[in-house]
Symmetry: D2
Subunit: 400 residues, 4 copies
């Protein structure tokens, strides 16, 4: 592991041409471990089960992550409340616990703490700019108090809301990342990736990019379009990417949420560590230097990214002491035909079988998500209760 | 969770008709978390990183496991040594640490501690019965000292060696499980599952069954054959099953180790939680009452087993507080078409796509594993060093 | 082509160790050409459109067939009638026309004419032996009058009915083949392939084997079981196989009729010519010497069989003048990367893609066919009208 | 069948809003029947085996075709010669025989005869406009002498050469179709489908469109782009489409020739009749009125097109007397669960399995075809001999 202590700012690192490796998504990983509920996806585990959150931070740190994102996704009081959980902890308690856990583990290695905000129900309910910004401001106050190292505005489907977030986060004086969850077709209003990036840089973002919703190669392609837009506009920025660890060639513009397998049947789509090598190399080649993951990433996925870029970074991650390069550990295997797999060529060429002969390769995204006539409904997709949605459902049905 | 404190013996539970839920395999889960090296697969993490092992125990406990298997797989000094690691801990230290961790977490809930032994290199090197038994005896000494609740002899490919293990373990006076890693074709000498089971019961095993190497449905089918053999012989036993969490319809008799995807490309084969429901129900219907998992199982897989059998057991596991029944948590989702998936029917019928259109459904097991002419070599597949195998390799090559 | 004129009996050929190549199934091939109606599958085209039937005979002759089967499948008057066509031709006219067409083309090369009978609705309606035999006798009269070279009793699902057919056909003094449409599980009463074969040989069949319902490798495997049965019983026979040209790994005991794709969605399952090479070689190795095809076979499939066995037969078929060995014709292609495919190795290794990413590899046979409770109904599956079946349908539905 | 006799010009029909149904490709269909050699793909069968060519014409006529294309593909003397066959017939004999066969069968129903020219080796060898045009002129002379009803310039990869062909064909005074074998990416020089269409219409083509190289939906999409181009330019034309009967989602710009399965492993990609219904409807909806097929089409595929458009055309084709609408013929089937498939809904929803669990859904086009460095070679891909290509091969290899 790189020497700790020499903790430099993310911008100092990126300006120096270094690679910053992100972590993976916590909600999916902790759902599989039994600490997050799929559906609400709220982060109360930070307070309820700190040992589980701390352990996951540690695993990503060992795997090579330079960034510990605070586990504060969806952690505003109103969000926590409307998710129906009678909470044993307040939003503030959860947010502060999450900051403390991230800092504790970051201090164990060469990692920075990043606070985060993401898209709000208020924006989709057509609340005004001031109101949305005040939500971001309240979240920022905690991160400033806990003195995180930098801020990430991530998981935005509308560039306008992301711009507002950036403007708020800039007031902290900390470096600001802006990451959208869009694909090559642009944001949900049809603003192209290139135009989105230009607007975010103009709003003050130091680092722009993409996270969640699509597979690694699609996300890298979209960041490439952002980069080209920024360069065409004569601007400067750094770039980040934190994709899914699921293959999603059959997604529509809404991403993996519209796949029929979301969220409980995605297993056959999980990327192998070798897929991650290709991703890391492609991201690097495109010029992205903040490279991490989102939903589906497990520690070994991040380790694969770190191993692919070990020469460029100059060191291997701690967890590589438990991993032979390109399967070299198999040289220890007792069966000779397994030992024969201890080589890069074998794993690069393998097209892994699914063992599921009754399953197709691609599924059709849900008709709900793609039906144009349901636009009204989709505009309101973040409405806070099913009650509120009822009239929209009626309308949608009537339009058939 | 069921009330702790009322800790009863595994045989008391099974005799009373209760379901005992096992845990999942530690080597695969901890490999992904960065604490076990694929190839050697040794358990030094018990001493090196106890927090990671403790956390995994806790997750399985929360998921519903009644059994904490000590993380002592391949933990004899000779095995640890020949795996080529300059170890910072002795075998005894690792074994004792593993027992302490299992006991610590077992005491947090309604779980028993199980010590384990598995097949030895000595048996395959044609060592005599006394020598092989003395190895099991040395391992047993630690488990007796640490006072585990019962013993499991597991992962045997030859029933004869398993019989020897059972005979040794019986001397402890503790209940003994015997679990083979074979499929419906029987052990590697061609002894049928039914005959294997009869021999194990006669050797003194209280519980017999299958673990590892094959997917759940194949393992359940094999245990059914064991049960039929035992009943035909007029004997009595309890039954256990701890399969892989990978779909392996294309395996030959050696199991998933011969699949080209083993061990680093198995992702598309991972079972969903809904596949686990089917497995748990089928195992229960067949009359198996000790139901757990092996390689590939994550805590959410065990939780699915516990949820499927919640009515029969009379309670849900702790981790179900973070999981709606059959996807019910999605009722909280913000997108209506995702909320529409909050029902059993949807998930039971889903045939999940792989998102990998260039990959087949089934692969062909490695030619090494299936070539009859390599029988010599395969008999020696557990030889302790590559040096020893060299002459066999030459012979195998010459026979082409 | 082998010299015509030297027309020897099929038994003389087989006794001399020669390979006899059959033709392909006419109903499927002519359905695609627009002359047979799927559902009734009746052969009125022999009289209505003789040019189409003659042309198909010629194509199989050119492809290497030594046998011209008369196109008389389902050609009894009662069958023709209940299929609901107001026929412009009597059954006798159709049968005689079919015999004449087969003879005309057989005389153009080294081919014999085979008349055929197949399973009857009467047998399934529980008519007595005498009645069923009298049906076969009426059909035989036409074949004797037209002096076909030998007889084939084919497409029987119950060995008992096939025995009756053989007994009738033997009275003609012509060589008799008996071919069942069963798989390795045996006939619909559970009689094993080996036992079926013994009974057929004892009834007088000179050649026994399998046709239709399953893919080539399954059929070859079943004939192998028949051969082993005959040899165990100390009997002697020749063996034949005429399988489907569709891959059917997912069939139940009723064969491809129960696949959801039958009969209008079978395209993705069609064997390539290279699959046929493997089939021909395997059939030969097993000891089968009358090797042909059934539904799905097109002339190029038979040509592939003849090309695989060209060395053993001593000559190539006429149509090979339009086919390079193992793709050698591609050496003439204008694109160099296509020319690079003019070699055996390329085609043997190719795993052809389906171009259908939303389709699975295997489908589940229809629930109708596999539901045990529908046994009553299935026993009556050849009942002559839907009217008669009504009460059975009601019963079947009520049993759900 | 529509009344014969009332033979109107193709333009009269299209101007009246009628649908004209084309035939299928002869080289692939006759290759399977044993009369055309894959590789050279030359049409000597018109003279050698007229009965086979006549029969295929008849089958397409029965299936609903209004166009009998003369079987004259690649039938210039130079082409026939360099394909290496010592021909028993001159090019003129073959061409004249083909015209006579097409006319003979066209006269049996409501069909027109179309003569055809296609891209020349000379164009790719950089011969001048005059030389290329003189080749087309010589071919046209035969068609004029035989008085075909209209002309088709088809299978062009470069719009410039197609323009030259149209200019020559226009001199005959007959209606002229121009059909390119390109996809949505445009011709091999990158001219977009819209621009190609405009140039062809300006050159004098009455009907423009696409044939071969891509699957039906891709071809329809490309014709739609052509139509939009023509309309944007304020021009008028009719539109035609004659696609492959193979699913080709994984093609690059060179079409199916670059798929590894071309030409002997394409079976799993063959369209079902139900796929053809979707194709015919989509083509009609887009405004295409000359709808036919190319390689892979069998008569039943054309019949499916005619059945889908039966209401619009006002009649069913002759071969529909042997085909129930949407599987209605299955109502006659003896097995009740097969009868249950006699409905549109069943076949429309079916996702047919391939029965090939070791094959992927998509393959990767040959590296030859996609390697940018091979551009030199590809420009010369139609060079007339391997000798000429040698230096290019050397160059290509050296560039690796």
């Amino acid at each position: 592991m790189a020497p700790a202590g020499a903790k430099r700012n993310i911008l100092e690192r990126l300006d120096a041409g270094e690679i910053v490796i992100g972590d993976g998504g916590f909600v999916f990983a902790l759902e599989k471990r039994g600490y997050v509920k799929a559906g609400p996806w709220t982060p109360e585990a930070a307070a309820e089960h700190p040992e589980a959150v701390r352990q996951l931070h540690r695993e990503f740190l060992r795997a090579g992550s330079n960034v510990m994102q605070t586990f504060t996704f969806y952690a505003s009081d109103d969000k926590l409340e409307n998710r129906g959980n009678a909470q044993r902890f307040t939003g503030t308690q959860i947010n502060e616990a999450a900051c403390d856990l991230a800092r504790e583990v970051a201090n164990e290695g060469d990692a920075m703490v990043a606070g985060g905000v993401s898209q709000t129900p208020s924006y989709l309910s057509c609340k005004c700019e001031d109101e949305v910004k005040s939500i971001f401001k309240r979240q920022l106050d905690v991160f400033v108090k806990k003195n995180v190292d930098f801020m990430i505005a991530e998981y935005f489907e509308h560039v306008e809301e992301a711009e507002w977030a950036v403007q708020v986060l800039k007031t902290s004086g900390k470096p600001v990342c802006a990451s959208l969850c869009i694909g090559p077709d642009g944001d949900l209003n049809g603003v192209s990736p290139g135009d989105c990036a230009v607007r975010l840089v103009k709003a003050g973002a130091n680092i722009v990019g993409i996270n969640c919703h699509f597979d690694p190669m699609t996300c890298v392609k979209t960041v490439k379009m952002m980069k080209e837009g920024v360069e065409r506009a004569g601007l400067k920025a750094h770039y980040m990417v934190q994709p899914l660890a699921f293959h999603t060639p059959d997604c529509n513009c809404q991403g993996f949420i519209d796949l029929p397998e979301f969220p409980f049947g995605l297993e056959p789509r999980i990327l192998t560590r070798w897929d991650m090598h290709k991703y890391a190399r492609e991201a690097f080649n495109v010029g992205i230097r903040f490279i991490g993951g989102c939903c589906g990433f497990e520690p070994y996925h991040i380790r694969a990214v770190a191993e692919e870029l070990a020469t460029e970074r100059g060191y291997l991650p701690a967890a590589s002491e438990k991993h032979g390069n390109w399967g070299a550990g198999l040289e220890m295997h007792t069966k000779p035909w397994v030992r024969a797999r201890a080589r890069r060529d074998y794993w690069e060429k393998l097209k892994p079988a699914s063992g599921r002969p009754k399953c197709p390769s691609m599924s059709t995204p849900d008709s709900w998500g793609v039906t144009k006539g349901h636009a009204d409904l989709m505009q309101h997709k973040e409405a806070t209760s099913q009650e509120e949605l009822k009239p929209l459902f009626e309308k949608a049905k009537a339009s058939h």
